[in-house]
Symmetry: D2
Subunit: 381 residues, 4 copies
């Protein structure tokens, strides 16, 4: 089977031929249909994340068809999770079904974070496909013809009508955005500002609008991404490149009763955006920090003027779990006719062109690059 | 090894000699130090719970010394939980340590309730020692010389200074009460009424007082339990047998500014207590229903007068998880000099007298019965 | 000025000619454009509410044009609220503007409920136009050519494009429903069941759908109200008259993963609906009780099966405040093209036919009756 | 009547003789018993706050005896707050009672912050005794023989047994700390770090301990303040001057399972303390920023490492309202035998020595300075 491999930070992406792995009981071999180049993949290539076991196969979010399931007919040892893979309602998966999976897996279910804080995204044993698993773990990322899913990985069916390309159009960014909107506690009628018009920001705008937020304002650039923001549900799009900060603030105050937004979601990944977020939020409002999955450096913040006096609440938002995948998938299936998630993939690349796809995303010359093992043609082709 | 067995509802408790079980990897054999007769055991004996695989060994909460650990030195299959048992910080347990365990185990970590609602107490796969596990599962309750803990069962060390008898004095009731106080959101300065002066109610009063609640009021009977309530932290004890409902309500209003309590915790197990709870709670307050672990029948409630107009919040509170065990144990260790949990066990019984212990609890002739395999003498002996 | 007066419970509605009141500083005289017959008016007529100073002019929610404002140019005494009426942003109102008002007023801002619980709907000093104010207080309800608004009454502008008839189509029920949806904490993707297809239930379905709830299920009758529910946003409408309880439950479980709804909103006003609500809610879910503004009697509830074991949360929901008016009005203005609030008024009546309007609502022969001082013709006429 | 006046920033405090003011209906003349020098007074003297109408009489928190009440026997205009002053239960105050008052008053009860956000501390019309009211408003601060309280000011009785000196020992800092502990959501068993050992930090430690927090850790200096922290309820006191940051962090991790505290309360007023707070908090924990009532400049923060990845929640905490006064006073009354609030006043000064008191607080040569019009001797004298 072919796979695009990132050998080390900065090294060119290579296409390698890997052996098809054997399946332990409860494991799943997924024939990849579609994956994506996520901003995290750019960070991986730049060597910005710690604990990455290069060489790796990127593509932590993907959709595939179940090609095989490791036999699990023996009664599993009690407490063991080597059971047949099943959905959230306990229905077993069958060969041939089209599914995605929660990239974070191996959560221990036994540590303080899992059991007391109920915050599995901080479990020290968790592993992430395409990021903290490498070629040595078998084919464990979506830039490959197949993905080996360990026993206990949570699979989710794509609902009828949600095709793989549309889901991957949202992809990792949509799941992250769903979490951010939940974390912000967005309610019917809340005013929401989203900072950043990349995949996370665009999906956050969509989910906020579907939550009844009014208005939904996106601050970002360049113009074509803002146009997309409007189509995703934003009522007001503010061009970061054309309006200075004071004017951006005036625009937000102007449509929020002079107070600022109830909820601001930072999805820009630029430290200064977090500081700006505090100035766009109303007193007593909520600022969700969801764009800093890698270290982009420091910002200056005035605790009196930007935290204490405005009685602000700043909520970091890390990782996603099965609840966010479930919610994002179901919402995308329900509203795909209304929200153009599929169009967020500007271009699809075959495995052989993964390196080019990565370069394009790094250079921001396209909004989002999809990876399809079988073909690089347009969605639906 | 000897064990007290409940063969069927209504049948006399028998002492049987069971084989010492073999240990699969990750399992633990616990040499029982102390267990208890919980109200649930009375319900089990009356046949009031569904899905109980009689014959069973009751005693779902217990303390013991680790006698053996099933070898788990082979690298476990990925995703498998057959790893060496470890505490919440990941430190392995050793033979000889004194521990208790979370009675609910086998939670799947893969269903909607585990992953989306993050509410493992509703996982359909969970099992409970001493309740939904029977003799056929090996020695799986505390009324026995040893308990077989399946791989994946969460063990917790008793902190230095918290002796087994004191912990079992609180026991299941303390863990349930800790959950109820958390569920009620009790804060510094809140007025709290606890309905019921049994093991759950007394511990709820203690935890509420330790949370800074003021005043803490207990409504119950008979007089000796109320005296105990005062020693656990209640500022006002109202004798259910001596004051009619209207007078009880007047007493509560009298020390809550005429409004009723901020939080009412029902721990009585009598349907009428829930209805009474709505009348003791202030408008906009919270009523936690924590006493109905078995079906005690119906009550009449007026939705206008008791729910809608008073803007009340009624919160059912089911089961306990590792977070409640962890919190209860730590709090008991910290405050055991101040709160007499150990004295809640009125009498300790040897395994051979488990039947008598059960009868005494059923007849309410003692507050709480402890079970100690080795001796029936007074605590500390 | 003419007004429809309810002289006493059960007595026929009379049209009386009242003097135009003088205005104290800060008071407002509103020339009524539209008001409504609310379910509460039926209860008032049946004598089911305590503390009503008959004779009264019903119509607690209304829209009008500001005819006069009591002079307030003198610098008001400090702390006094006899200032010129202003909107939530502090902009003064002018003669000629079209506004509605928060029916609850006179909240003291000084009692425990106002200041500590921040729950002004339980302030003992609050008064309600059309309910706890009567003819002796001047024209104080919407079934009249003009309404006298006391100083301190909160006025709200109808936003551009929201015509009075559309707002009154939602009316009191929409504001109550907005509060109920907020109180239920409805989030994007939550499944929601609404019990009751009257004005509150229909608006609750609409607001839940606008909050991204999926699916939204309405249980009610008769068929024409259910048809309206579908147009308001419900994905599934269950006819109470045609399906027995068990089948209704199966239908709800069938589209909620077998678990029941995340949030159930009771808007039926029938005690049995609250009990049924507990059976349609998932374990750990939320049941909002919003339909019992008057005493409809008792229901039987099993605390074990319906509260404790399912870890349910039941939240009474009383009254509405300025935040609910503000949110409901803004949401209705934003989505009026999509949600047919205006069509909820089946027929408009002139003041002279207020009695007939009341009878029709009492007999449930129409969904909602509007009152228009000037004409009884169709909306928009 | 004599009053200590701050004529302008930097100018020496002067004692002036002011006329005893006339009372409008509902106003109260309070004969001052005790007031304090708060950190805010130092900021006022340094000219660090905007909108201060110098000359002012500092002392925004004080206790006094009611000397006179402005006649309010005429039926007040409806909606007017010029009613006789009453407590939260509606009981009228009488001449001779010993009371304190909520320093923030004049809240409009009509703006978006008052009515929609229910966050009166951000009401633009609010005024604060001793800070935004000056000599031109009459005697409006506690450094005077009497204080003029405007109609609508919320008065609170000191409960039996809570003497004025003990309450002022806590004073403004205790009320602020009560708010901060509430804002942090501190629960039984939570680990809490307090940064700062001044009046706010010490009371925060006390309230956290009374909430059942365990452990309570105070980081501050110098040694005598830390000794006081231990007496207020801290289990661990870390000397800021003797341990570098890394060692402080190790100490906190060492007693919080290696994770950091559940809740960190910043009460230091130094920007760097906020940044340090993020490093002492566990992943998913809460950091309350309560020490920055004046502009102390900026800090550097890394959004990735200090907000996003640790899934942190940072909550600014501004001002206090009647609920915090009520809770703080009641809690102090209940626990004054256990917590030495009264001893926090290192020395009492007469009005004539207010300037010296201010200098001592500015120089941090004493923990807290009290002001007593009648005498400068030791508490209780």
């Amino acid at each position: 089977m072919r796979a695009a491999v990132m050998p080390a930070p900065g090294a060119p992406i290579e296409v390698r031929d890997l052996p098809v792995p054997a399946l332990e009981p409860g494991a799943v071999l997924l024939e990849t249909i579609a994956s994506e180049v996520c901003g995290t993949d750019v960070h991986l290539w730049r060597g910005r994340l710690a604990g990455v076991p290069y060489p790796i196969i990127p593509g932590h979010v993907a959709v595939g068809r179940i090609a095989a399931i490791g036999s699990a007919d023996r009664a599993p040892a009690s407490g063991s999770s080597a059971t047949a893979p099943a959905d959230l309602e306990g229905r077993r998966f069958e060969v041939g079904e089209v599914v995605t999976f929660v990239d974070v897996h191996g959560t221990c279910g036994a540590c303080w974070y899992c059991l007391v804080a109920r915050q599995s995204t901080r479990c020290p044993k968790r592993r992430v496909y395409g990021i903290t698993m490498g070629v040595a773990d078998g084919p464990s990322g979506g830039w490959a013809e197949a993905i080996l899913l360990r026993p206990g990985t949570q699979l989710l069916r794509l609902p009828p009508g949600l095709d793989p390309e549309t889901f991957v159009g949202g992809g990792c960014g949509a799941v992250t955005a769903f979490h951010a909107v939940r974390r912000g506690g967005v309610r019917l009628g809340d005013s929401v500002v989203v900072l950043g018009a990349g995949p996370v920001g665009l999906s956050a705008a969509a989910f906020a609008a579907l939550s009844g937020a009014d208005p939904v304002i996106v601050v970002g650039a360049p113009a074509d991404r803002l146009a997309m923001a409007g189509r995703m549900g934003a009522a007001l799009c503010i061009d970061l490149d054309r309006l200075p900060h004071a004017a951006r603030r005036d625009a937000v105050l102007g449509c929020t009763g002079g107070r600022g937004a109830d909820v601001v979601i930072e999805a820009a990944g630029v430290p200064a955006a977090v500081a700006e977020g505090t100035t766009l939020c109303r007193d007593g409002g909520v600022l969700v920090v969801a764009g800093h999955y890698t270290d982009g450096g420091e910002m200056a913040l005035n605790p009196h003027a930007q935290l204490n006096r405005p009685h602000l609440e700043v909520r970091g938002c890390w990782g996603s779990d099965a609840s966010h995948f479930e919610g994002a998938i179901r919402t995308m299936a329900r509203h795909q006719g209304r929200v153009p998630w599929g169009e967020m993939v500007t271009r699809w690349f075959p495995i052989e062109e993964s390196g080019a796809a990565l370069q394009a995303v790094a250079a921001r010359t396209l909004l989002k690059a999809g990876i399809r093992p079988t073909t690089g043609s347009a969605p639906g082709a």
